[in-house]
Each structure stands twice: as C-alpha cells, then as structure tokens.
C-alpha cells in the first residue's frame, strides 16, 4: 500500500493538495473571513470594481455585483456549497459505483449483464441533461443537488472500475485465495479491493472536480441550491448581464470554479502517477 509520503512526494499531488487546503479553509472560515453578509444588498454600492481598478472601495475588496452584494463574501460562501457538494456527492457516487462495479466484475454472468445494461441506459443521457431533469423532479436544495450528482455519476466509477476488477479477477492469486477457503466477500475485500483502490482514489479526486462543475452548471441554470444561498454558478449567471461594464463580476467566480477544479484535477493526475503501478512502470522503462 502506498504510504502518505509517497503520494505527496509527487509535485502535482502537492500542488493540488495545497490549493485544496486553502479552498477548504476558506469555506470553513467563511463566516469569519467574509467582510459582509453574502446576501446583503447595498444599492448605493452597485457594481463596484475590485481593488486593482480605480474607483474601488476598500470595504468591498473584490467589488460588488449588480445588487451591491460583496463579491468576496459571496465567493467565500460559495466555496462552502462547492466543497460540500464535491465531498458528499463523490462519496455517494463512489460507494454506489464501486459496490456495483465489484459485484459486476467479480461475479460476471447475469449480474454483470444487468449492471452493464443499466450503465448503457445511463450513458445514453448526456450527464448534464440527466442531472437537470433530475433536479426538475427533485426540486432545488443542497441535498437534492448531491443526490442528483450521485444518481448521475456513479456510472463513471462503475464503468472504469468494472473493467479493472475484471483484470484483477483473472489474476491467479484470486483463484488461489478461493482455493485456500476464502469466501467471496473476503476475496473481494482482501484480494481485489486493495488492487482497485489506487484507481478508486484517483477517480474520486477527479470526480470531486466534476461535482464542482456540475453544481456550477446547475446553479448557472438556476436549478441548484436556490437563490438565497450564494453559489459560484449563480454568481456567473447573474454577472452575464454586466459583461460590458463589470467583467470582473464574471471573471472572479469563473476563476474560483477553475482553481478548484484544477486543484482536484492536478491532485488526481499526481495520484494516478504515483499510485498506478502500470503507468509508473512504463514511465520508468
């Protein structure tokens, strides 16, 4: 098993991990750090520019939006939504997807057939469309967003992990474990899961990035946590009308989404490099 230093010894993982510590910190400390209530409207100070542009107000370091709400505060509170969704949606999708993947890959036969067909149906929807439709059915709300992402994205895990499980299943040490009296459950947990875990962890990092994007898309379309909760996608959608006179209101939340997704992606890439033995072998050769 990879020890902690190994996966952090990779520069990429380190970059991603450091960025994420900052983002998670910002999310946790939002009530302390935020200079204003994120929903407080200040109709006198509408569309103030950020501090590097002339005419800015020190009370609103990153400026205000068209309703005079403080951008910095909204960004900090938006990180809470993004991170909550990233963590819980990923956990849910991982549990569901990995469970079904191991079931399908290990037992094969009709179990595999059935799960394979379900994945086929799911993949015939573009994920964005499916999650939008689910949100229409479920209604707005943080936990509904998480549920919608879990219900859509478990297939990503299942599809990739299933083929990995099938590869490991064919190894002779799995047969050997059965011959030594291991039950199916023990064989899966003790012999197969340790081998698929590196891939699982890598996929989780990438999925967190995807969850952030999906939440942003849903709130951009006005189908996410609702208007009263500040979310990055919502801020981007609100800023579209002001592209000409206040582009920073658009760029800042976009940048927040980008940095978060980048952190998850680069962490995932680093993990993939240090955990995936096949890749490291080819790279060493």
């Amino acid at each position: 098993m990879p020890s902690l230093p190994l996966w952090l010894s990779n520069t990429r993982s380190l970059i991603g991990f450091t960025l994420l510590i900052f983002i998670v910190g910002a999310a946790l400390l939002a009530p302390v750090l935020a200079p204003h209530d994120p929903n407080e409207q200040d109709l006198i100070n509408m569309l103030l520019p950020p501090f590097w542009v002339e005419g800015s107000d020190a009370a609103f370091p990153l400026g205000t939006d068209s309703l005079g709400r403080d951008i910095l505060s909204r960004l900090l509170y938006g990180a809470r939504v993004a991170m909550t969704v990233a963590i819980f949606a990923t956990l849910g999708a991982t549990l569901l997807g990995a469970f079904l993947a191991h079931l399908a890959g290990y037992f094969g036969g009709w179990v595999d057939w059935l799960i394979g067909r379900i994945i086929d149906v799911w993949l015939s929807f573009p994920p964005v469309v499916l999650s939008l439709i689910l949100m229409v059915g479920l209604g707005a709300g943080l936990w509904n967003v998480i549920l919608a992402i879990v219900l859509v994205d478990w297939t990503r895990f299942c599809r990739v992990l299933r083929s990995e499980v099938m590869v490991v299943r064919r190894r002779d040490y799995v047969s050997a474990a059965r011959l030594l009296g291991f039950s199916h459950v023990r064989t899966i947990t003790r012999e197969i899961l340790p081998a698929t875990l590196p891939l699982l962890i890598t996929l989780m990092a990438l999925e967190m990035g995807i969850a952030v994007v999906v939440e942003a898309i849903l709130s951009f379309a006005g189908m996410s946590v609702g208007n009263e909760v500040p979310a990055w996608g919502q801020m981007i959608a609100d800023a579209r009308q002001d592209v000409y006179n206040a582009p920073s209101t658009l760029i800042l939340p976009s940048f927040a989404v980008f940095v978060t997704v980048f952190a998850f992606n680069i962490l995932g890439d680093g993990l993939r490099r240090s955990l995936d033995t096949r890749l490291t072998q080819t790279e060493r050769a």
Partner: protein, 338 residues
C-alpha cells in the same frame, strides 16, 4: 465487411429500442415526482376547480402511473408529441426547428475536438521524456479544468466583448433572412446560393464550436498519448524499426493506427458528454438549439417539451455512439474478421 457492419447495426437497433423505452419510462417517472399539476398548467389561470378536474380526467391523470405512461407512449408512437404548455405550439414543431442547430453545433465541435486532441496527443508523444512534454501535459490539465460553459464565457468576453472580432449572439447577422430548406443553416445558406449568409453563419458558430471543441480535446489528447506509449512497448513497433523503417513511418503507419483504437472508444463516450455541453453553450450564445429550448422548458415547467427534448438528446447520443462503434469495427480487424 459490409455484412458485419449491417449485422452490428441491426444488433444496435435491437438494443436501442429497449434502451429508449427505459429512458422514456425514467423521464416519465422522474417528472411525475414534480409537485405541479399539468392539468392546471394547461388551462388558463382563471379556470374553475371543476374545469381542472375535467382536464385531469381528459389527460388521464387519475389513472395509475403505468397506464398514464402507456397512454403517453401510444401517443408518441402515433406521432402525437403533445403541445407545449408555455409556447402553445406542438412540441414536434419546436424540436424539429431546434434539433438541426444543435446537430450542426455538436458535429463541428467534434471535428475541432478530434483535430486538436489528436494533434496535441501526437505532439505530447513526440516530445516524450522531454521538458516540452511536461508543459503540454500541464496545459492539458489547465484546459481540462475549465468546463465548457466557462470556456464559452471567456471566449465571448475576449473575442466578442473586448476584441470584438466575432459575433456571439444568435446564428446570423440581422440583415440576412434565414433560408429554410433542410433545417441545417450552414447547408441551407449554401443551397440558397448565399455565400455571404453562409460566412455570417459560420462566424457566429466559431465561438461556441471552439468552446465545446477545446474543452473536449484534452481527454482525447491524453488517451491518445498514453495509448501511443503503450503501443510503442509492442514488439511490432520494434520489429518495424529492425526492418529499417524510419520513425515517421513507424509512427504514422504502425503506431497511430493501433493507438487510435482505444482513443476512438473513448471518443464515443466523450462525444456523449459533448451533447450535454451544448446545452449551456447554447444558452450563453443565445443559440437557438435544443439546449435553449430545454432551459426555457425547465423554467416554465413545460413537461411535454422536457420529456421530448430529453428523448432527443438520448437518440443523438445513441446515434453518435453507434457511429463511433461502426468506425471502430471498420478500423479494428480483430472485430471484423475472425
């Protein structure tokens, strides 16, 4: 070969029918979870309770859910796609106007994604084990981290708002009248003999197509590079060198041909995702396709439209994955001949 392809198409068709049925059922059930009453919505706001009840009866809403589903399915099969609640127009008209626009957008984006992805993959592979590779690899992660709707906004901001090089609203400049022949605007402007209108339509497509194409390309690039690396571990590459073939020929004739196969199967999935990307990109560029229709329908809880547009997305994904599988069959002799 032709027979194998036909056989495969037939099999895909046989699988597609139950898939679409399940998808339709899924859409139906999910949208019935809504706490809204379709009967009340399809009547004017001043309708009486009795009128609503009568409407419910007429729409079959008092019957069990499976029966309602079968009724809806029966209507679909007889060509009755229902009326849009918000637009007060047949759903079929709305969809048939929007669908070609989305297909044009997605098709051009796929071409851009393939060209950029394959070129990037070859480049990254060519510079393997050198500093340039790390730079290419790093930038691919950067590109990957900006989702397509943010690409759309940033391109719009840079090329549309600041530099003002390209238009970013609708599909044509206002002075042109839209010819309708096939429904595909690029085709229609050409058929109508209006190259100036064609150029205008093309210019309008550049930004949305770039946003979608660029954001789909890193995945293609990364898979191509890693499968090229895998392919180069194979004996036949070494053997080709031992026969004295030069590197360019080894790469293009032996390496790329083999490494493209896993890339192609990824592209099948990737292009499915790309249809999802068109949704917001269309909204951002006010591009009159399925995505805008879908968002409008969702805002108005226009159930008949949501259902049909959802199905339309599924059919597009199924078609594109069938096309990709067919290409795979053509390119991979192991599947074609036994």
């Amino acid at each position: 070969m032709f027979a194998t392809i036909m056989k495969m198409l037939l099999r895909r068709l046989l699988v597609a029918i139950p898939t679409l049925l399940v998808v339709a059922a899924l859409l139906f059930v999910v949208l019935r979870l809504l706490p809204v009453d379709p009967a009340a919505m399809s009547l004017p706001p001043n309708a009486t309770n009795d009128e609503v009840a009568a409407m419910r009866e007429a729409m079959g809403l008092n019957r069990p859910l499976p029966v309602q589903f079968l009724i809806w399915l029966g209507q679909l099969l007889s060509g009755d796609f229902g009326m849009s609640i918000a637009f007060r127009r047949p759903v079929w008209d709305l969809v048939s106007e929007a669908l070609p626009a989305t297909i044009e957008l997605a098709f051009l984006s796929m071409i851009v994604a393939t060209v950029v992805g394959v070129a990037g993959g070859l480049l990254a592979f060519y510079f393997r084990d050198r500093t340039a590779e790390a730079a290419i690899d790093f930038s691919s992660i950067v590109v990957l981290s900006l989702p397509e709707f943010l690409w759309a906004l940033m391109l719009m901001l840079i090329f549309g708002v600041w530099l003002q090089w390209l238009p970013f609203m609708l599909r044509l400049d206002p002075q042109f009248e839209r010819p309708v022949i096939t429904g595909f605007l690029l085709l229609d402007t050409l058929l109508a003999g209006r190259p100036d209108a064609f150029m205008s339509a093309l210019r309008h497509m550049i930004l949305p197509v770039m946003a979608l194409g660029i954001s789909a390309s890193p995945a293609i690039m990364r898979v191509l590079r890693s499968s090229l690396l895998d392919t180069y571990q194979e004996d036949y590459i070494h053997q080709a060198r031992l026969r004295g073939l030069d590197e360019r020929r080894v790469l293009l004739r032996h390496g790329l041909k083999n490494a493209f196969l896993p890339t192609l199967s990824l592209m099948g999935v990737q292009f499915g995702f790309l249809f999802g990307g068109t949704l917001l990109v269309e909204v951002i560029f006010s591009y009159p396709g399925l995505g805008n229709l879908m968002i409008d329908a969702i805002r108005n809880v226009d159930l008949p439209v949501i259902q049909i547009v959802g199905l339309a997305y599924c059919i597009m994904v199924l078609v594109i994955s069938t096309v990709v599988d067919m290409l795979y069959l053509v390119l991979n002799p192991k599947l074609r001949v036994r």
